[in-house]
Symmetry: D2
Subunit: 143 residues, 4 copies
């Protein structure tokens, strides 16, 4: 399930379900910044990977806009996990919250929105999704 970039960073998928995902990694020497702590880009890549898996579980989607808030630095050797949950699922967009956690502490918070490439395909609307793909969409909204 891991893509090439995740493999490059040693990231592993721990959990994947409709609208959610957990990805884990370890801060290595190759992932440090000039302060000697985990590079902001490494932590973001971890969160972004969980976000991508969670959002693509709803059908193909591409990231539009993401926010990353950093709370604490991590040293080399730290184990860290990104836990993505769906906050909103609409026809053409969806938003996810990803908590980046290490040793039980919140290290960073990621919020991301995707554009859903086949978002208009809704069974109820007669646009024809294969039926297995839409159990989840119950809370569909707007007009």
């Amino acid at each position: 399930m891991e893509d090439a970039f995740m493999r490059t960073l040693g990231l592993e998928v721990r959990h994947l379900a409709p609208g959610e995902a957990v990805v884990a990694g370890v801060v290595g020497e190759a992932h440090l910044n000039l302060h000697g702590t985990a590079h902001g880009g490494f932590l973001y890549a971890l969160a972004d990977s969980a976000f991508a898996l969670a959002s693509n579980s709803r059908g193909p989607a591409v990231a539009l806009s993401c926010r990353m808030d950093y709370f604490r630095p991590l040293s080399a050797g730290a184990r860290v996990e990104a836990r993505a949950q769906e906050v909103n699922l609409s026809r053409r967009t969806a938003t996810y919250r990803v908590e980046v956690v290490s040793e039980g502490k919140l290290v960073a918070l990621f919020t991301g929105t995707v554009f859903r490439l086949e978002g208009n395909a809704f069974p109820g609307s007669g646009e024809g999704l294969p039926s297995g793909q839409n159990a989840w969409r119950k809370e569909e909204v707007e007009g």
Copy 2:
């Protein structure tokens, strides 16, 4: 000037001056996502690296909150550059805008804010500014 994570991703500093930086890279096979395009985390790491260099040019600083807007996908082999500019410099925080560009097109836009660890200490000003010398500090801004 490159840190460990930048080296891991093959990123190079092209320009560095007070409040600004340019970092360049090439999208490799190791940087792709499941769609076969540059991983959002790779592009963010590129932008974040320019942001870190630009902000730390004002003294030690740590990222607080960043936003990344994605506009177009990049394929393997694409050359890409992140150009960071200072938008605001205050005593304890500073904000940067980073344009991610490939072949003359805007690929993504990054906006990031740092907390300045020694916010009152200004290089070259002899640290610990007498109160009269702060007039400039808020609207530092571009050159």
Copy 3:
């Protein structure tokens, strides 16, 4: 507890405790945009008010950077509530998540970070920072 802008918009504080706040309002004709639904600025002002109350409950703080994700439109007459919770509290910054809810549905999600003007003071929290950690904060700022 309401400030002038909250009164202008008819917003009321429903709950206030350390690190959290709930603010409520009603979408009036005066708050609509050209689409005839609640103006994005009105919903943001509601969320921002809860954020300000929650963050200032920890001592004086000013907003640095906020994100607002919009999920559904609201019509005139809709009752709406913003519920702010603390996501992270550090010495000099803090981050809050604010859910904007109407009729049990998530209308928008706000994420905001403040700079804490007297950041080292943790009244009543008894979390007891080792005193040595405050040395740096000498350059305390504006009042």
Copy 4:
């Protein structure tokens, strides 16, 4: 051109062209927060109004995700202007940068992304925009 909420806040449109807009206002006593400065929600509403006008100039659009960075406080009586410019225009989404300026100084920076409700209406695709309206759409993207 002003909507109901803009009139409530005394905001005026100063400029409107495809992909850009300028909105102006004055910080009144009714717009202050508990610190006695312009409420963050008032400044956001100003920026958001310019963003809405600029984005809707391309056809109907709704806000998805916005960021507001605050740089300096404004006192009652201050004149303030929000200047929106298009950063990216794609088929289904568009992103704008809005500078909030007072007395020549950057007070805040807003970045916002919209979903374009009729985004697929492209002349080249036979969906019929009057041809004069689309010189801009040159960089159409995605896959």
